[in-house]
């Protein structure tokens, strides 16, 4: 559905299971000039009006809709009244414009880094990196090596340092991967990051970014081990972390025989 003045386009649907026809149709519409949005029917609407109980939650279905090429924004819909749908679409479009404008503002920090194991990379990792990118012009990932992980957890990660680094280096928002070896300290991390920065950079323009679950641990090092750099904490939803976390995915991998088994199964099914 295209606005007469070509402001934006949108369509509305269930987006529970997607097939090639749906993808092609949506991407053909979305690829036309101007921003494009997708309205996703709420689960209650699907059940009460469309008479089908979707298999995925609204959040999951909105994520599916957002993943289509050239889709700029998504919004939930709980009506089939044309005017009400239009109003929802306009509101979502205006919010999209505000986000776009905010993204064009100068970022709060020049350089930021996140530290982690990133073992079995998942959507939660990506979300953290994207949040870092919203705050910083340049983002580095400081990757814990196999040896460091073994020292701390007394077990090897499921993927090697090289495998984990390969995934991270491929990500657009990540400028480079730095390493947290068995003997790397916080001050070493700062020194490594500084090697990639302008020598005249104000240290406060460099930020170490952690999830809120690590706030109690890292706050004590502000001004000491973290020296003059900034430290920021991003919100982590404890409920969401139960299912979007390395521990959760690693348990699934292990229950199915391990990552190598899953990878070989995937290769067989692609053939």
């Amino acid at each position: 559905m295209e606005e007469e003045n070509g402001r934006f386009g949108y369509n509305v649907g269930v987006y529970d299971l997607v097939c090639r026809t749906i993808r092609q149709k949506v991407e053909e519409e979305a690829g036309k000039e101007g921003p494009y949005g997708i309205g996703v029917y709420t689960s209650e609407f699907c059940e009460e009006v469309l008479m089908t109980a979707p298999m995925k939650t609204l959040e999951e279905r909105m994520a599916i809709a957002k993943s289509f090429n050239d889709v700029d924004f998504v919004f939930s819909v709980n009506t089939n009244n044309r005017q009400e749908v239009e109003a929802l679409a306009v509101k979502a479009y205006e919010e999209y414009l505000l986000r776009k404008k905010a993204a064009e503002e100068p970022k709060k920090y020049k350089v930021g880094f996140v530290i982690g194991s990133f073992d079995v990379f998942h959507a939660g990792h990506l979300e953290n990196i994207m949040m870092a990118k919203e705050m910083c012009e340049r983002v580095f990932v400081v990757l814990k090596t196999d040896e460091r992980i073994f020292l701390k957890k007394n077990k090897m990660p499921r993927q090697t340092t090289a495998e984990r680094a390969a995934v991270l280096k491929f990500l657009k928002p990540v400028e480079d991967v730095l390493y947290m070896d068995i003997d790397t300290t916080r001050k070493d991390v700062i020194a490594d990051v500084l090697q990639h920065c302008d020598p005249n950079i104000d240290k406060k323009e460099i930020v170490a970014i952690f999830g809120s679950d690590l706030q109690a641990k890292e706050e004590q090092y502000i001004g000491t081990d973290w020296a003059d750099i900034s430290v920021a904490f991003t919100e982590r939803n404890p409920e969401k972390m139960k299912t979007v976390s390395s521990t959760h995915y690693q348990k699934i991998c292990d229950a199915r025989g391990g990552l190598k088994v899953l990878e070989s199964f995937e290769e067989q099914t692609i053939k």
Partner: protein, 98 residues
């Protein structure tokens, strides 16, 4: 309160939850005859943007088994005039078959 001669609902009916079954039971109490329209596969994919796990014939058969459903029919439109024709035809086909 006098019941209507017939009433109907239209939907996808791919995954039929208890909520949906209850709704049909409750809605059907307001009419003597109750029909259910099932969106065709093409309509579900192209207009409602989801791929049904059961094809339209399977969904038709599932709905036929539901309590209080007297007749079923396929729907591929939301245009009022076309819908009215579909529903009326389905109802009279049911009456004539009785």
């Amino acid at each position: 309160m006098e019941k209507r001669k017939f009433d109907f609902t239209i939907g996808i009916f791919d995954t039929i939850s208890e909520t949906i079954k209850d709704k049909i039971l409750n809605d059907s109490k307001l009419s003597e005859t109750y029909g259910v329209g099932i969106y065709t596969d093409k309509y579900v994919i192209e207009e409602l943007k989801t791929y049904p796990t059961k094809n339209q014939n399977e969904r038709l058969e599932e709905v036929k088994k539901l309590k209080k459903v007297d007749f079923v029919f396929l729907v591929n439109t939301t245009e009022k005039k076309e819908l009215k024709e579909l529903v009326t035809k389905a109802y009279f086909d049911f009456i004539n078959a009785k």
